[in-house]
Amino acid sequence: MVDTIHAAPANSAPERAEPIERRRTLSTGRVVFLVIAAAAPMAAMVGNVPLGLIVGNGAGLPVAYLIASVVLLCFSVGYAAMSRRVVNTGAFYTYISRALGKPAGVGGAYVAVLSYAGLACGLIGAFGYFTNIVLLETGIDLPWYLYSAIAIVLVAWLGYRSADVSAKVLGTLMVAEFGILIVFDLAVIGKHGAQALPAVSFTTEQTFSGSIGIALMFAFTSFVGFESAALYGEETKDPERSIPRATYIALTSIGVFYVLTTWIIIGAAGGANAPALAKEQLGELVFNLIQANGGIVLHDLAAVLFCTSVLASVLALHNAASRYLFALGREQVVPRRLGSYHAQHQSPHLGSLTISALTAITTLIMAVSGADPYTVFATSFVGLGTLGIILLQAVTALAVVVFFWRRSDRDLWRCVIAPSIGFVGLTAGFVLAVLHYSTLTGSSNALVNAVPALLLVAVVAGVVVALRLRRDRPAIYAGLAGSELRRRTAASTEAPLYTRRYCLVGAGPFGLIMARALIAEGVPFDWYERHTDVGGIWDRDSPGSPMYESAHFISSKYTSGFYGHPMPADYPDYPNWRQIRDYIRGFARQYGLYDRVTLGVSVSSAVPLPEDRWEVTLSTGERKTYDGLIAAPGVTWHPRIPDVPGREQFTGTVRHSVSFGDGSELRGQRVLIVGGGNSGTDIASDAARHADTAYFSVRRGYRYIPKHVFGLPTDAVLTGILEPPRGVSLSGDLNEMIDLMVGDLTRLGLPKPDHDLLASHPIMNTQVLHHLAHGDLIAKPDLVGLTATAAVFADGSEAEVDTVLLATGYEYQLPFLDAGLLTWEHGHPQLYLNVFSREHDSLYVLGFIEFADAAYRRFDEMAQLVVMDLRARETGVHREQLRALKQDDHPDLRGGIRYVDSPRHATYVEARTYQAYLASLRDRFEWPDLSEDSYRTAVPESNPAPKETADLTSQGA
């Protein structure tokens, strides 16, 4: 009986492309097994049938089960269709959020917690009641709440450690439960013959006797747990096929079994007289029938199995509730502490304790007030829980319809009709059950009967919390219910034979990535690079390269490689610029890119012609026309030099980091480094070691992110590529973790961080902090001016310096394009998705984007976007949609994060949001997702790789 959210820690992972190989070991058969086990059939029959008979529609109960089976089957058809396209790690919550919005999702999640907690409470009551009955026969007569208390303690202990009853145990129980009930069924048929299957059950009269709504509710209760199937999806080898199949098989078999068994129970209990018998015997009804028809041994077995079955269900529900709390704690829509997990057991222990406390209090109240454990306690709480689950399923069914409504790849039956039937059936069940709720509780107490209102309260609370979060903490809101689309491996259409020819400018990393993608697609193109070799900024010999000796990658080798071309395993965690240069060139060799590029020729100008064509003038004087222009000009070539008041009177040197080579240039000087970016911190560290005195001026409070946490590269740990050491939990707020590791920056004279971790380009450097703590570097506030010999800072202090080194970043420029061709704002051209010109359909600009993620894979995804557009132009398919998007689509790619207001962040996108947006576009236009293998087949191996390349690739991680 579970709808769990995975308690895995990596929910903040921006890159789940290649996670550590998860165990994908489950087969369809095994999933069927697990799903049926989770529904606990014995508990469902023995516990629910008597109540269904009494307060439901009496002898018509099998019909209710039949209806429930059909409705749920329809529901699960839609559910499966959605799980084919959306990776499911968050159950209902994810789907509702994705289709109906995050507020609805949070509301749904609150309902889920309430429902699972309610079910767990109710079943605790049922456990006490039935254990009492079972033990009475052995002469032990203890109050029910004693047994309940024991169960609470046991479940609390197991839940704290997040111990689910192992699949093996559950499976064994399930087989035994089925076995006993089948033996019972056969025994009844053998004994009563045709009477065992009384026709009366299927008469209209019986069907609508009493309350069909309540009967339906009990029927639905009996199925709670089947929805866990989708959750096993990520553990199966072929989730898109095996999960739906497993769900259908499991649902159908449970459904048939339930209908038959209820029917036979009614038959054994005397057909139309069954409700009367049930009223008399209550929970003992089925046991008595088993004893009467199958003998004492079968009865005893059933009794024991029933108790274990209930207990297993309680545990599963308890864990479901506490994992929901945990997940919501991580998302910060419930107190964040609930989102931490136990370092050793890796369990959501605080969530578990909360649910345990809730269960204990409820049981205590029930025991003290003398309520009947079966007809009042169990009934009302199981009722509440089931209502909640039905509601969730109904809304999820709606979500499926909404999700597929605007998509071209929807299947009428699976994506519209079936989920609609599910929605109508579930909604009807819900409404009927609410209307007849007083019948269910058998109480005239208005308060008791108002319990379903709690669900409304939960929904409203969830929606309100989500809306407040959206207003107050957009970054957290943006991260809510993150879901991914499932990978697509093949495009819907074949690559056409291209007649149009394109011009690609630049052979830095992005240019190379673009070229590989064009070659793979078969797009004809000419390619110019002004330098004599490929590699862009990473070639320090390239004139004007901003590279300096101490430069290293700021993302680790684990996350930074090109698709299909991992960084060599023997590279250090953060390779230096030489290694990156060699790696890039190895990439170019492996894919034969050297054969395609024209080196030493630059593009002097490019002018648009009619019909989206371009005239390109080369440095050789040659003029050529192309059907499109793809510019990868690089972004760190043109220094941004701020105005520093008093600069003209300063007698020392003012220079920009673009010309910085290595620390020895600062030998014997008093140096001021201005700017706390990644170059600024690197150069400040060089200055600390080389200069006589080194100052470090930063304008604002940055966060300095350690390149390693727990001795492992930070990005690799956060993306789940490397596992943190055993016993370490990465729960909670990233800001908090970084702040804890790094400590109080004000001790070092730096300003306190004034922004959220994600709201500014991350500075991956702690070396600079080391130097500040050793006095080799002196922190200063913002530089406000220069005198003849000194720098003046915002706090009024001055420092005598010989050199002011501005590490103040770079400007975007497209020197070969007339500036008027693009709309520039704050020094940034306005591009759709940071790639497409909005004005010129055949102009693509690469690299004018910043995000906190390893670059090369994101570049590749952007290159795919270009290729997608090229194919649309060639084939006409999707052409108009793409054109319209380029002009009118203005998505918020900042993920709700308010980036700090500085020029550099004008093109900043939130990596996950951006990735997700590209994924949704690919999904919409049926474009395949990239993987490590994407280029393996697409690009034929060129001439045998030179030795150096072979070295690089053979050691791939």
């Binding site: 250090p572 620390g663 060089d686 492992l712 400590g743 080391h770 703590a773 050793h774």
Partner: protein, 499 residues
């Protein structure tokens, strides 16, 4: 404080008996580095008559990077934080960074000397040739300028990091070889292929320098060590440890070791060897930069050297590589060349509580304490004890005798439950907590007064000019007593130590 080449040469001994100055009621403090200064402050506070001899032209010992023969290098910083490293009643300036640079430490020491008026009793530019014990128990100090003076006792504060422990390079390496003693700054390694040998604090600092500017930087360690980062959660490591709960030692080793491995990762991941001992069983290496450099590939780790041939060095794992320069950061010998007869010829002298000569009454060594915490607190304490003891000899002979008996017979276990490594480096190594505890118990038992007065009129950092302590300038009194011939040194120098 001796020029190791000069004073060992027997031909340099004074040709004949000269006039011996009699200062036999006074004490001679050799060296004006941190230990010498702490001792002098204690003697002065008790009004004891002393002379202090310093080879260099100013106080500060090895912290003066311009002092001839100093092992100091530009990248050097204190490895304990300013918070826990100062002399008592004379804290380091709040304006200092967490870990002061060598220049800041030197300025601190000079301020300290000035604040307590210690400079007045120091004779600069004088090195000591030999120290010999006379039959009457007095001590004859022979200076390199030939002057001989008789003292009641001698406190050797001449430093423990002046005589390099330079192992022989196996095989036939033709490149440049040097000891970290001669390393000053990164220009010495710029553009070279550099191999740094050793796993101590200097080795790490130097290889990190090389990682920045050398063509190639490799560190060779024969075994695995523990590396303690200088900051834990942004707080200096020693302050972090001090503020933590006080745990039983064995447990602390485990807890802290696990914590280090957890937060900063295991050394093995970076290609270093796994420590073959528990945390704290070897002298702690406080360095965060080595890990950073390894993580960025700026420094490459290697095991011990197997052999060499030409410029090629082969390591015990079979790998080999060419180098231009080998820097041995293999530590120092703690021998006291001018008084070797009394301190012994081991790498490390065996002294009661690491300070008091067990056999030679009136001979003390401050600065030879090999332990796992900031050193100045120990220098302070030993200075105080020596002052108390010498004062007792004048005014409370019974108590002095009690202490003398302890020095002669007491052999406490100062390991604090840590099984210190058996390497020569850790001979005589003591646990700071155990040492402090035991020392305090003795001081308490004897009823010694060890409170240090703040520098007059000052708290905290003291400007150099602020103070002049009221102490009489000792006058040299020539005596007619002929000097006994100095005890000849029993050994010629043989400082090459085999690896």
């Amino acid at each position: 404080m001796s020029d190791s080449a000069a004073q060992l040469d027997p031909t340099d001994q004074p040709a004949g008996p000269a006039a011996i100055i009699d200062r036999s009621s006074a004490i001679c403090v050799i060296g004006a580095g941190p230990a010498g200064l702490a001792t002098a402050r204690a003697l002065r506070a008790r009004g004891l008559d002393y002379d202090q001899l310093e080879r260099n032209t100013g106080v500060g010992g090895l912290w003066d990077i311009d002092a001839p023969g100093t092992p100091m290098y530009e990248a050097a910083h204190f490895i304990s934080s300013k918070t826990l490293s100062g002399f008592s009643e004379f804290p380091m300036s709040e304006s200092f960074p967490d870990y002061p640079s060598h220049r800041q430490v030197l300025s601190y020491l000079r301020d300290f000397a000035a604040a307590y008026g210690l400079n007045e009793s120091i004779e600069f530019g004088v090195s000591v040739e030999s120290v010999t014990k006379s039959a009457d128990g007095s001590w004859l100090v022979t200076r390199s300028d030939g002057v001989q003076t008789r003292y009641r006792s001698v406190v050797c504060c001449s430093g423990a990091q002046w005589i390099p422990n330079l192992p022989a390079t196996p095989g036939s390496f033709t490149g440049e070889v040097m000891h970290s003693l001669s390393y000053r700054d990164l220009d010495q390694v710029r553009g070279k292929r550099v191999l740094v040998v050793g796993g101590g604090n200097s080795a790490c600092d130097i290889v990190v320098d090389a990682g920045r500017v050398a063509e190639r930087a490799v560190i060779s360690m024969r075994r695995g060590y523990w590396f303690i980062p200088k900051h834990i959660f942004g707080v200096p490591a020693d302050v972090f440890a001090e503020n933590g709960p006080s745990l039983p030692r064995r447990l602390e080793q485990r807890v802290f070791g696990t914590l280090l491995n957890l937060i900063y990762g295991k050394p093995e991941r970076l290609g270093l060897q796994r420590p073959d001992h528990k945390l704290f069983e070897t002298h702690p290496v406080l360095n965060s930069n080595l890990f950073l450099s390894l993580q960025h590939g700026d420094v490459t780790p290697k095991p011990g050297i197997q052999t060499t041939e030409g410029s090629t060095v082969t390591f015990v794992d079979g790998s080999s590589e060419d180098f231009d320069l080998i820097i041995y950061a293999t530590g120092y010998l703690h021998s006291v060349p001018y008084a070797r007869e009394y301190f012994g010829n081991d790498q490390h002298p065996d002294l009661y509580l690491t300070c008091f000569s067990r056999e030679h009454e009136g001979l003390f060594g401050v600065g030879f304490t090999e332990t796992n915490s900031g050193a100045y607190v120990h220098f302070d304490a030993f200075g105080q004890m020596i002052a108390n003891y010498l004062d007792d000899q004048d005014h409370n002979p019974e108590r002095a005798r009690q202490f003398a008996a302890l020095v002669a017979t007491d052999r406490p276990d100062l390991s604090g439950g840590i099984r210190f490594d058996r390497s020569p480096r850790h001979k005589g190594y003591v646990d700071a907590h155990a040492l402090i505890k035991y020392r305090d118990s003795i001081v308490t038992r004897l009823g010694w007064q060890t409170r240090v007065e703040p520098a007059p009129g000052v708290t905290g950092q003291v400007p150099a000019s602020a103070v002049s302590a009221p102490a009489s300038v000792p006058t040299s009194v020539p005596t007619s007593v002929p000097a006994s011939a100095p005890d000849s040194l029993p050994e010629t120098e043989s400082q090459t130590v085999t690896s």
